[in-house]
Symmetry: none
Subunit: 370 residues, 2 copies
Amino acid sequence: METKYNIVKQAIMSKILDGTFRPHQKIYSESELMKQFEVSRHTVRVAIGELVTQGWLYREQGAGTFCVDRSIDEVSTNVSNQKNIAIITTSISDYIFPSIIRGAESYLSQYGYHVSLFSTNNNHDSEQRALKKILTQRFDGVIIEPTKSALFNPNINYYLNLERQNIPYIMINAFYDELDPLSITMDDEKGGYVQTEHLIELGHTNIIGFFKTDDIQGNKRMKGFLKAHREHGITFDPNNIVTYCSEEKATKPVEILRDKLTIDGDVPTAIVCYNDELAIRLLDVIREKNLQVPEDISIVGFDDSFMANVTEVKLTTIQHPKSKMGESAAKMILDIIKVVTSSHKKARDTGASSVIDPELIIRDSTKQYL
Amino acid sequence: METKYNIVKQAIMSKILDGTFRPHQKIYSESELMKQFEVSRHTVRVAIGELVTQGWLYREQGAGTFCVDRSIDEVSTNVSNQKNIAIITTSISDYIFPSIIRGAESYLSQYGYHVSLFSTNNNHDSEQRALKKILTQRFDGVIIEPTKSALFNPNINYYLNLERQNIPYIMINAFYDELDPLSITMDDEKGGYVQTEHLIELGHTNIIGFFKTDDIQGNKRMKGFLKAHREHGITFDPNNIVTYCSEEKATKPVEILRDKLTIDGDVPTAIVCYNDELAIRLLDVIREKNLQVPEDISIVGFDDSFMANVTEVKLTTIQHPKSKMGESAAKMILDIIKVVTSSHKKARDTGASSVIDPELIIRDSTKQYL
DNA sequence: TCCGATTTGTTCGTATGTATG
DNA sequence: GCATACATACGAACAAATCGG
């Protein structure tokens, strides 16, 4: 054990243990150690190298060799720095999510990263379970679609813990306001505005809007819906805004529309939907009432999911970049990881969030009001 | 990443993962590696050094460098006994795969397992990459849909290595014959038989069949197609069987059908398709030739994917359990894991493979031949 | 038991590349 | 732009352990 590199190693070790080298403090440079111990550079590097793999030191090219902060950082960092990215979405196999995931997966796998999927089913408990997994295992980064982004989030601590452990994350589709994270989102307010304006320009004035309000998207789209009315000088019945939450999506909107279409007198001539999924559901109600789309009622969806093209009536809807968004999210998270790992910077200071401009796709479900 | 020592490192890693270097087996000496890669001894030592600290190799002075036995490894089993299941499929976001994955994911997450997805895009290289990842990280079990199951599989070594490392796996939809693994598959021969018999019973005698033959499913369905003809005493033109491989799926079948429909005289009156995806493609050709389905031509799909219900003509097709299959696969793998971990048995001796009986779903794309 | 060939372990010297401040 | 510090790579030498004959 009296090899030269071992002597150097033990000497450095002592200084770490007795507190001469504090966490994140720079230790002697390689050339200094060469002089001190009268050994070659190679010997110094072997000594330092072992301390690095044992998790006592870290090196930064051009800057120096530093002491690791063992207080926060247990074994975890070392064990499996194996290029893992986690993706948390509300669903993994329905609606637009397969496309988003495909976009991300194909980009990430190009760079040797591998993807773990978690779905929350729009449920905070599942979200918590996913976050726990991610914190205990080792992930290099996380792409998150927030669950019920409009409500208070009981898992906020877990997100803060991600930051504390220096695991970068970004949010897609929406984000928790309290966290103010890097994100890729739609301009949902403008989306709702565009949906509504399209109908107004077609001459509709009695428009009913259905919005899911437990996520940010729904709230913003509703805001856009109101704004379009206001800016075009159209007054409207407050009853013409229907809000619902995830759990009610299969029941409440359907029942309310059924009622609205039953009362004669004040039947709406157009419908703005939170998304395509709801639009499809409401189409069933319209059919059940023997009304025709778009002849009797116009309807606008959101997201341009495959559903929009499945039905007899192809839906007018708002474009969602889906696989492109997945790819952008993947790119963004890899960029952050690069910066964070190479320079011990904090994730927040890298790059900027992006907001996607919504575009209307006009198909057959909307028509001039006569 | 293209440093010389990294190239050497990856090369050695490959040989460990594909089973060239078995546990406790001596790997090439440093001087051999110097010759092989034309690098200095220093470079070789750096490469080996990293693999040693990562726990893949150990060195013995005077004797050589040896491969670590990961199957009984206390540390690794311990560190991430984290309930991870990997799913490898040919695609993760198209066709019937989202449904299969959803079925598996929802079952596995109930039991606290978490799912990592890999897609091979029907490509052996990607399959290899996925298997390497799975062998490198620590997974409790793997659900695999084989890539090009009818062809010789160049990754057979990686599967054998899974067994050596005691990581249980099962295969779905098809399996590599050489491995004879536990599996959940369709009775594809019967499926092809049922497709064809349905048409024969409707009076069709000039039936053309399109089969993807780089996977087992296609070959078996073709076998069923032939058997139905034989058993019903119908002779047929060998030209009425069209085979294609994954890469040709968007071109060859389309071109051939176009030719067939152009020559008058011998136009087929019915089509048996490898799957719904192909059926949809062929519907386009039929439409292009101004023919009607089912009036002029009957067509049968396979898998009952969402596509079967999307088109103007709803497809007659064969049922595929999809999410049910995912769930069964998940259940099967968890059962195996339970047995393997509790009793140190080998995976092979647990439970039995299951074969699903195909059922015909009759919709609007087939009609009595007059 | 010793010898010699082989193999890994330690140490030196040198050179060039690349990131940091 | 420049000095500093780490990263990669080559060459050479001797030491120490192993293994077959």
